[in-house]
């Protein structure tokens, strides 16, 4: 069993361009082990590219990306649940363990336990197309966490869901993070979701690279539905929102 606090990340002068157009422009960023970091920014600010770099799905043109552990266990949650329609829910969740060669009698109980914690204990025999959008996303979340990753990357995972489902999933994600120490980098379009979940929110500028706001949210975890309406929460949300809007306005 691993006893880790999650992965630390250190980015220096990261530069990435596509067809001559820079998407990430000499970005410096540190993420502490176990931190929950939310990244927001206008469309095309390189958020997704940044996540792909962190996942080693893409290589930076310049700059260094240090991860605190060499054999880091990374998990990725996409905006689309990306489940395999020919696999049952439990086999979808167990897939990453299966790819690591974990035998069936070990991986199935692990997947069962994780499905229970996301409230899908009785859906394990179902198939993805029998599930609602929110349920699929929970399966996707469970699949990402089955290997107990050191680094969890989420690319606007709940963007396609309605508000109520989204809030439920936020809470699932928060409790999973609290029960298993890991570093989370969470890209979202929703300012309130970012402030609700994260230890720290950064706002990226269009064109990439510039962090226009790096904001620590000093509210204690776990945060609850009630805290979404509390005065301190709204104050933090306003600060982040003003930074985001202000920057967007200067662009427009």
């Amino acid at each position: 069993m691993k006893h880790r606090q999650g992965a630390g990340l250190k980015l220096r002068g990261i530069h990435r361009q596509f067809e001559g157009r820079p998407v990430i422009n000499h970005l410096d960023l540190d993420v502490a082990p176990g931190e929950f970091l939310a990244i927001i920014g206008p469309s095309g600010c390189g958020k997704s590219t940044l996540l792909r770099l962190l996942a080693h799905l893409d290589q930076a043109d310049q700059g260094t990306l240090d991860r605190s552990e060499a054999d880091l266990d990374v998990a990725f949650v996409f905006q689309d649940p990306c489940l395999m329609p020919w696999r049952s829910v439990i086999d979808n969740v167990a897939l990453p363990l299966e790819l690591q060669g974990v035998p069936r009698h070990h991986r199935i109980p692990a997947a069962e336990a994780l499905l229970k914690t996301v409230g899908l204990g009785d859906a394990q025999g179902k198939f993805p197309q029998q599930l609602s959008g929110g349920m699929k996303m929970r399966v996707s979340l469970a699949r990402a966490l089955i290997t107990r990753p050191d680094l969890l990357l989420l690319d606007e995972p709940f963007a396609a869901l309605d508000d109520i489902t989204r809030h439920h999933l936020d809470d699932h994600l928060q409790s999973l993070w609290l029960s298993h120490p890991m570093t989370v980098v969470f890209v979202t379009h929703s300012l309130s979701e970012a402030v609700y979940l994260a230890d720290r929110v950064i706002v990226l500028s269009a064109g990439g690279g510039n962090i226009t706001l790096d904001y620590k949210v000093p509210l204690p975890h776990p945060r609850t539905a009630a805290s979404r309406l509390s005065t301190p929460f709204i104050d933090h949300l306003r600060t982040v929102s003003e930074a985001f809007e202000g920057h967007s306005r200067t662009l427009a």
């Binding site: 792909r52 996942a55 080693h56 799905l57 990374v74 998990a75 990725f76 996409f78 689309d80 990306c82 395999m84 329609p85 020919w86 897939l95 990453p96 299966e98 790819l99 690591q100 198939f127 993805p128 197309q129 290997t147």
Partner: protein
């Protein structure tokens, strides 16, 4: 739609009676000789009188077509997997796969006789050549259109190439493969009949192609049409079998969204 289902068979039946009746009447009115255009009633009679031989010929052709189709399914899928494995392999060998699609089967059939001799071997080969390309093309499309996010997921999980192939690419390509198989099923019958025109050994009475050839020589156009009708029915039968298999496997693979109504 319940109240409609009772009369669902009525419109096609009425159109059938109308059209065959019209053909029958015009042939009688224009006094066309039987060798030029057989009356539908004569075709029906020939179908009835020669039912036993025609059924035997249909079975003969059916076995060849299903064998050819089966070979297409297995070899076509294997070829598609090979082609999908690397862009360089694809560039080097895909043109040869297209060859199967463009080869004029009627021109190459005599060569098949030289290679396989008269008989079922050459007929099956003709059926294979005609039916393999839609299977290759469709399966290849399926293998290459794997969800890129799922491919990323496999990369992050450090999955082996074999795991990616057998646990992701191949299962994802099954619906495409089955579509190819359905297109191929009709072609397999056509290939078998063309093969029989050139290469049948008349052993066991021969197949539908042979029956058509003999009936033509005897100017028995009623029998020609009866045999053609049987070949269409055979094509339909194989198509239905493959569609049934299609539905079953889609259900097994739980690929509901690919199911067509």
């Amino acid at each position: 739609m319940k109240p409609l289902s009772g009369v669902l068979w009525l419109p096609p039946l009425m159109s059938f009676v109308l059209i065959t009746g019209l053909i029958e009447c015009s042939i009688i009115l224009m006094d066309l000789p039987a060798y030029l255009a057989p009356r539908p009633s004569a075709v029906a009679l020939a179908l009835f009188i020669h039912a036993e031989e025609l059924l035997k010929a249909t079975r003969h052709t059916g076995i060849a077509a299903i064998t050819g189709l089966g070979m297409s399914a297995i070899l076509g899928a294997l070829l598609a997997i090979t082609l999908a494995s690397h862009p360089l392999i694809r560039r080097a060998f895909y043109p040869y796969a297209v060859f199967f699609q463009t080869v004029p089967i009627i021109a190459i059939a005599p060569m098949l006789v030289i290679w396989f001799g008269y008989g079922q071997g050459a007929v099956v080969a003709a059926s294979f050549i005609v039916s393999v390309s839609p299977i290759i093309a469709n399966t290849l499309t399926g293998l290459l259109s794997t969800d890129p996010a799922l491919l990323d997921l496999f990369r992050i999980a450090k999955a082996s190439r074999l795991d990616t192939l057998f646990k992701l690419r191949i299962p994802g390509a099954i619906p495409h493969f089955l579509t190819g198989l359905r297109i191929a099923s009709g072609l397999a019958v056509i290939g078998a009949i063309v093969g029989e025109f050139v290469a049948d050994s008349y052993e066991d009475g021969g197949g539908i192609g042979t029956a058509v050839e003999i009936a033509l020589k005897e100017q028995r156009t009623d029998l020609v049409f009866a045999a053609v009708l049987m070949s269409s029915l055979l094509g339909l039968l194989i198509f239905w079998l493959v569609s049934g298999l299609n539905q079953l496997s889609l259900k097994y693979w739980h690929l509901g969204e690919f199911k067509d109504s």
